[in-house]
Symmetry: C2
């Protein structure tokens, strides 16, 4: 492809991701009509099939780009970075349709016949990286395992946001995230490290 | 109703709950045909509508009877009872279609247009009762709140089972439940209480 054609392809792909996310977030997978997605993206059916093959392919792509909605907004490292990921996530889940749709589709994937752990495994890798860095910096308790903590945090966050969505439409998710860390930090981090962690959910709004 | 008619009604209702659970567990909400449910239950459409009004009513009832699959199997109290609830739950989720369907329908409820926190609030009440009892017995740290812990455990268990389902078809759920408690107990309970807690997932199999 020529350079302008490549740029156009990137813009088309992003328009489809965004339009698809808005429609999946609002209507769920089954209720999301292809025509509505195409109209909102302002592209043709051919473009959808070129970039994503199918509605399911578009859904899987949206599930997979969740971390890209979070990571560019982070500047901390180690344990604080892990905490900040969850604060940015709790904030973005209220305003960012790509993240909202990604989380919804990941949770409801069984309803459209998908069993794909990729999006959760992607989060796990990112969180395990923070924890390995935290471990090198001496922040973690000696007997804990970065991978196990990361897997638990991914699962816990998934369930906590579902609970928060059902009881408050996710308004209380930032505060629930703080509470999660108050309960969880003593079991994974050294007291000196915990003392230095800033548990202010507004850290997620700096995006 | 006469006594035999009442007993027949109870049996019909239970047959519908069980057949509905098997079909919802296997096919999800959208894929669960009413005809299949009626055939498996061996009852008429009239019985379904008499007891549950609709397919959605049957799904909501199955979501609501989750705790009845767990509580009769418990004999411990306080913090150990809370831990044992999760062990029985982790075991039953592998073998009990009513619990499996209840959890699946609760997680995927958005896909069929329901936003009903009742099943999660039911679990929260049961867990908060255990924690209030634990608090009276001096097991909890002074600064923690039973309701907040209960809400977090409900959310965390929901997400951990989803993660476990996607990566191992829930085979590793009992072990993940043990890990959850190892991480969580230091943030909620006194060290003396933690020392007395038995973290053996086979406690869930005694049913």
């Amino acid at each position: 492809m020529t350079r302008p054609a490549q740029e156009r392809a990137v813009r088309t792909r992003e328009a489809l991701l965004r339009a698809g996310a808005e429609v999946f977030d609002e209507y769920g997978y089954a209720g999301a009509g292809i025509t509505r997605i195409l109209e909102r993206a302002g592209v043709t059916a051919g473009a959808l099939y070129f970039h994503f093959k199918s509605k399911e392919g578009l859904a899987l792509a949206i599930m997979g780009v969740q971390p890209q909605q979070i990571e560019p907004n982070l500047s901390s490292h180690g344990l604080q970075r892990l905490v900040d990921i969850t604060f940015v996530w709790a904030y973005e889940l209220q305003v960012n349709p790509i993240l909202r749709a990604g989380v919804r589709l990941s949770v409801e994937q069984g309803s459209f016949g998908v069993q794909d752990p990729s999006s959760y495994l992607g989060w796990k890798e990112i969180m395990a990286d923070c924890l390995q860095s935290a471990d090198r910096e001496g922040e973690l308790l000696p007997e804990v395992h970065s991978e196990e903590i990361a897997e638990f945090v991914v699962g816990a966050c998934t369930g906590v946001q579902l609970y928060s969505q059902l009881v408050s439409n996710r308004c209380d998710l930032p505060e629930r995230t703080v509470r999660m860390w108050r309960m969880l930090l003593p079991g994974i981090a050294r007291p000196e490290a915990i003392a230095g962690i800033r548990l202010d959910p507004r850290r997620g709004e700096t995006a």
